[in-house]
């Protein structure tokens, strides 16, 4: 703090003096007083000799001086234009007694001198860069050389400038000048560190901070080199880069090496780097131990990768840039055995990233990097186990940093490789080094990548491999063989300094395993949400599996089922439905093959076994009951097909049976789906299977479904399923329909009873009266409807009765129109009259509770529309018969 106050004071004071001298200097200029101008200018410049300022304050002062020197330059230019030979000025300013002001003035005049073309640029520049050696104080020297660089910037004998020529020099002189200025600047900068100190740590740190601040004054010289128009890749390779690298390597200064290597990468163009990659990488292996070579390599790789992506043909393949980087990394690892395993992993991660971007699709490179990591880790583990023999500590585990890098190594290639990672043998071996939670994370990313790529899993090996890789998504970590204390220590080691969130999550899984939960609600929620998302993601995997061969496809599903079954049962709700639905989808394909084969059978054997087709149903029924499980296993052979529909249905049955105890509603719904699928098989052979599925759904309904709303949804689904079924035996259909109607009649709430019984009535009159082959039991229809009306009448209290009446009226109308013989105009007229009575009653009571409300208006409109419909039908001319029947209804 005190230092800051001092700095402000020193800077203010110096600034004031600069402004003052600048004022007098300009005054002298106005009076065309050259001597006075120079005196005040050098007094002003003398302020730059201060030793009191930090680099940043000095920079401010320097900027101010630079502003003022512009007037000096203008003044000299004016004199030159008036005809004064610049050489005179050039000599005159050298008489200034003080070296720093003298050199600033000299450089200023030199700028004018070169511009005037009165002297060759080359000679003047050489002169200046030499004379600047007169200032050996590091900070002052660095700023002076920066001024030289700034002034000479547009006066170098570069190609295409007026300063180039026989006399003025060539681009070679230009880069020689810059190189020399650079190496002098670098020397000053490095020397700062070597200045004798009393080795106080604080002093050392301060010096290092100052050096960090001053570094741009060195780096600017590299920018100048890169701006030269006349320098081409060949020149750069032969004359410039070797000199720069020599400087860098030989200065043996960690800070300088790190910074300058980075500058070289950033400042020069991509083509230059491509032309000199070998030189550059060779220098990388010669840097000081503490230099972060990885950061430097990453810098080059990023540049080249970006460049290669934008200009695919720009890097000639014969360069084998990946091999060059790989060699460099290998060499580093050999020469620096002190590298930690994490650093080794990070280097490989950088290489892998480069391979991914520059050589997309090159699995060999990726596998190489992953293999190197696996080897490094295996070595480390071996060493650890050797030690363990003596001290017997924990098993080998990565620390948090290591986990992070390996996770990155495995995640990076996923987005572009997706399913192709299965072709990288080392991917799985590296995965094993990660703790469960990280493997789960990688698994999730892998799944997402697979879906994004829209690739399909089409062979058994891939299915197995992929499922194996995502095992941590499927199940919980198996209990450790370690004691709980050791396991905790291990987990702590792995968590280390990872994000709080992650660590919390880890803790939580640990806690829920050992103590059975007991965490705060919010993390519990978060965990549940995450689990749900992951499991849904996992379930989708089923739809990625595809094979033209139905047997193979079924095997895929069986493998998935085997894996999913090992998960905690609460996860079945996410993973089993896709499995069941995929199996039912597969049933359609298998059935097509069976039908085709049966057709072929029939043609071949039609004569000899004429009666078989007719008796098929019966023989199948026998098969079902022969004790091979609930559905029977005996299958009819289709040549070349192993798994028939029966086998598939059996699998579905097993899955649903294991799902049912935990998720009754879900299982119920899926049983009904399965029943429909079996019915769709269009053969009598499957009607018993279908019946079995429906029965299972009914059992679940009776035992497990207790909530009213769920009951209604379940009943609706049951009715829907039965209505769509076509192949039940009449007695079975009748039994099932009766059962559903009973369920409906037993619902807890009257309005629900009314509605569901009315809906169930449709089970007894499918289709129209004149449609053959449908189940028709008109007596049951009218029974249901009558019961619904009665129940509606009991709903006065809930004031829902009016709406229910109109609803039931509509059911009546439907059956009347279909021609159901029991539903006669007598019933309709009576119901309409009944409803009218109820309305009048309500009106008499003087506006029921619902009167005037929007609900009442809605019911009124509903009723009116229904009556309008009846009236419309009466006048319908295109169907005389129907119109006549409707006319019989009294509205």
């Amino acid at each position: 703090m005190a230092l800051n106050i001092d700095q402000t004071k020193f800077l203010e004071e110096a600034m004031r003096k600069v402004k003052e001298q600048a004022f007098y200097m300009k005054h002298a200029m106005d009076n065309e007083d050259l001597k006075g101008t120079l005196t005040h200018a050098s007094d002003m410049l003398r302020e730059l000799r201060t030793g009191l300022l930090t680099p940043k304050s000095y920079y401010e002062l320097y900027m101010k001086v630079l502003d003022e020197l512009r007037y000096v330059e203008d003044y000299f230019t004016g004199l030159q234009k008036q005809g004064k030979p610049v050489v005179e000025l050039y000599e005159k300013v050298q008489s200034c007694g003080n070296v720093l002001p003298r050199l600033y003035l000299l450089i200023t005049v030199a700028g004018v001198y070169i511009k005037s073309l009165e002297a060759p640029a080359r000679d003047i520049l050489k002169d200046l860069v030499e004379m600047s050696k007169g200032v050996q104080h590091p900070m002052r020297g660095l700023f002076l050389r920066n001024y030289l660089s700034q002034v000479s910037r547009d006066k170098l004998p570069d190609v295409g400038t007026p300063y180039e020529g026989e006399e003025g020099g060539s681009v070679q002189d230009a880069y020689e000048f810059i190189l020399q200025n650079f190496s002098e600047a670098n020397r000053l900068w490095c020397r700062m560190q070597q200045q004798p100190t009393n080795a106080h740590n604080k002093e050392k740190k301060r010096r290092e901070k100052e050096r960090q601040e001053l570094r741009i004054l060195v780096g600017t010289n590299l920018v100048r080199l890169s701006q030269l128009q006349g320098v081409e890749a060949a020149t750069y390779k032969e004359h410039i880069l070797p000199r720069l690298l020599e400087q860098v390597v030989q200065c043996k200064d960690t800070l300088a090496q790190s910074y300058l290597m980075e500058c070289i990468v950033q400042v020069f163009g991509d083509e230059f780097h491509i032309a000199t990659l070998d030189l550059f990488l060779a220098a990388c292996t010669q840097l000081k131990e503490k230099v972060n070579v990885r950061a430097i390599l990453e810098g080059v790789m990023d540049r080249l990768a970006t460049f290669a992506e934008a200009n695919p043909a720009a890097i000639p393949p014969h360069l084998r840039t990946f091999d060059m980087f790989n060699t460099c990394v290998s060499k580093l690892l050999v020469e620096r055995p002190g590298y930690s395993v994490v650093e080794v992993l990070r280097l490989q991660a950088s290489l892998l990233n480069y391979a991914l971007h520059s050589f997309p699709g090159n699995l060999e490179y990726l596998n190489l990097c992953l293999g190197n990591c696996a080897t490094a880790l295996a070595d480390k583990r071996a060493a650890h186990q050797e030690q363990a023999v003596i001290v017997a500590p924990l098993p080998f585990a990565l620390d948090s940093e290591g986990v992070e890098v390996v996770e990155r190594l495995l995640t990076l290639p996923l987005a572009c490789l997706a399913l192709k990672v299965l072709e990288l043998p080392h991917f799985a071996s590296l995965l094993e080094f990660l703790p469960w939670a990280s493997r789960r994370q990688v698994g999730v990313t892998l799944l997402q990548a697979v879906y994004n790529s829209r690739a399909k899993l089409s062979n058994l090996e891939s299915v197995e491999k992929l499922l194996e890789m995502v095992v941590p998504v499927i199940k919980e970590e198996p209990p450790s063989v370690l004691g709980s204390e050791e396991a905790q220590a291990l987990r702590r080691q792995q968590n280390g300094e990872r994000g709080v969130e992650d660590a919390e999550e880890e803790d939580e899984t640990g806690a829920s395993r050992s103590r059975g939960g007991g965490c705060t609600g919010s993390t519990e929620n978060g965990k549940a949400r995450r689990l749900e998302e992951e499991q849904l993601l996992l379930g989708r995997l089923v739809h990625v599996m595809a094979s033209p061969d139905t047997d193979m496809h079924f095997r895929f599903l069986a493998v998935a089922r085997r894996h999913f079954s090992e998960a905690p049962k609460d996860r079945f709700q996410y993973t089993f439905p896709p499995l069941v639905l995929a199996t039912l989808q597969l049933v359609r394909r298998v059935r097509r093959r069976e039908v085709a084969a049966e057709g072929a059978d029939g043609n071949q054997e039609g004569d000899t076994q004429g009666g078989r087709a007719a008796s098929e149903g019966a023989s199948e029924q026998v098969a079902v009951e022969d004790g091979n499980g609930v559905l029977g296993l005996k299958k009819r052979d289709v040549p070349g097909m192993q798994f028939g529909c029966r086998k598939l249905f059996q699998a579905v049955h097993e899955m649903l049976t294991s799902l049912a105890p935990h998720f009754a509603n879900l299982a119920l719904k899926l049983f009904l789906e399965a029943a429909q699928a079996a019915d769709r098989c269009e053969a009598d052979a499957f009607k018993l299977i279908s019946y079995e599925f429906v029965t299972q759904a009914f059992l679940l309904y009776e035992d497990e479904v207790t909530d009213s709303k769920t009951q209604i949804r379940a009943l609706t689904a049951m009715i829907g399923t039965l209505l769509q079924a076509r192949h039940f035996d009449e007695s079975d259909y009748d039994a099932l329909s009766t059962k559903v109607t009973q369920y409906a009649a037993k619902l807890l709430k009257k309005p629900d009873q009314c509605r569901m019984v009315a809906l169930a009535s449709h089970l007894f009159f499918v289709g129209r009266a004149d449609e053959p082959g449908h189940y028709h039991d008109p007596k049951r229809v009218i029974e249901c409807l009558q019961r619904s009306v009665k129940t509606a009448d009991m709903c006065m209290a809930s004031s829902q009765h009016m709406h229910l009446f109109v609803e039931v009226l509509n059911h009546y109308l439907y059956f009347y129109e279909c021609g159901c013989p029991t539903v006669t105009e007598k019933y309709l007229s009576a119901l309409v009259a009944f409803i009218n009575d109820k309305r009048n009653e309500a009106a008499l009571v003087g506006g029921g509770p619902a009167e005037g409300s929007s609900r009442a208006a809605e019911i009124e409109a509903y009723y009116k529309n229904t009556l309008d419909y009846i009236r419309l039908k009466k006048t319908q001319t295109d169907n005389k018969e129907l119109a006549d029947r409707f006319s019989a209804i009294q509205v």
Binding site: K17, K26, Y59, M63, E213, V223, V267, F268
Partner: protein, 209 residues
């Protein structure tokens, strides 16, 4: 006094790394375009003379490093700027989002006398890559309108094919010219005493360079 009648404007070009600050300057001053990315370190200028209203004006154009690590000595060069050009790359939304940061950084470090009316000019560069545009024009228009009583002048430029580069720099000069006519303070010693020039002054005039 002829030499001091010359008008000089100091331009500062700011923006994220890789938006094309150096390329814009090179295109304007040297009519040259280099498609490879080369980082700038620190800050330095090129000058260009232009005629404005029959007056010779020197533009001192400061190109700056977009990467913070290449600006280790601070932003002393912001001081005394007459106009500030904020550049973003219209194919890079992040560079657009950072304009606010650059503007605040400039006002904070340059501390101009009238920050509310300091002339900024906004350049959406790489207009030649229209097909890859990621920053919709309306977003830029909304932003420039939110920055003061009058919307900031806005140009969609291409340093590569020189589109609107000249126009943008001239507009900037025009803004600077309007600003200068509002009078700039100049240093004046309290006492002109040649024998004892080192008199301590109590207060600096506001806005002195």
């Amino acid at each position: 006094m002829a030499h001091r009648k010359k008008v000089l404007f100091k331009y500062i070009i700011l923006g994220d790394s890789g938006v094309g600050k150096t390329c814009l300057m090179n295109q304007y001053v040297q009519k040259r375009f280099d498609k490879t990315y080369k980082a700038t370190i620190g800050a330095d200028f090129l000058t260009k003379d232009v005629m404005m209203d029959d007056k010779l004006v020197t533009l001192q154009i400061w190109d700056t490093a977009g990467q913070e690590k290449f600006q280790s000595l601070g932003q002393a060069f912001y001081r005394g700027a007459d106009v500030c050009m904020l550049v973003y790359d219209m194919t890079n939304p992040k560079s657009f989002d950072n304009l606010e940061h650059w503007r605040t950084d400039f006002l904070h470090n340059a501390s101009p006398p009238d920050p509310d009316n300091f002339p900024f000019i906004v350049l959406g560069n790489k207009a030649d890559l229209e097909a890859d545009r990621k920053v919709p024009k309306h977003k830029a228009l909304t932003w420039i309108k939110s920055k003061g009583p009058k919307p900031l002048p806005y140009f969609e430029t291409s340093a590569k094919d020189a589109t609107r580069v000249e126009a943008a720099f001239l507009e900037a000069a025009q803004l600077a010219l309007e600003q200068v006519s509002q009078e700039k303070d100049d240093y004046f010693p309290d006492t002109i005493n040649l024998s004892q020039p080192a008199t301590r002054r109590n207060a600096e005039p506001a806005g002195c360079c």
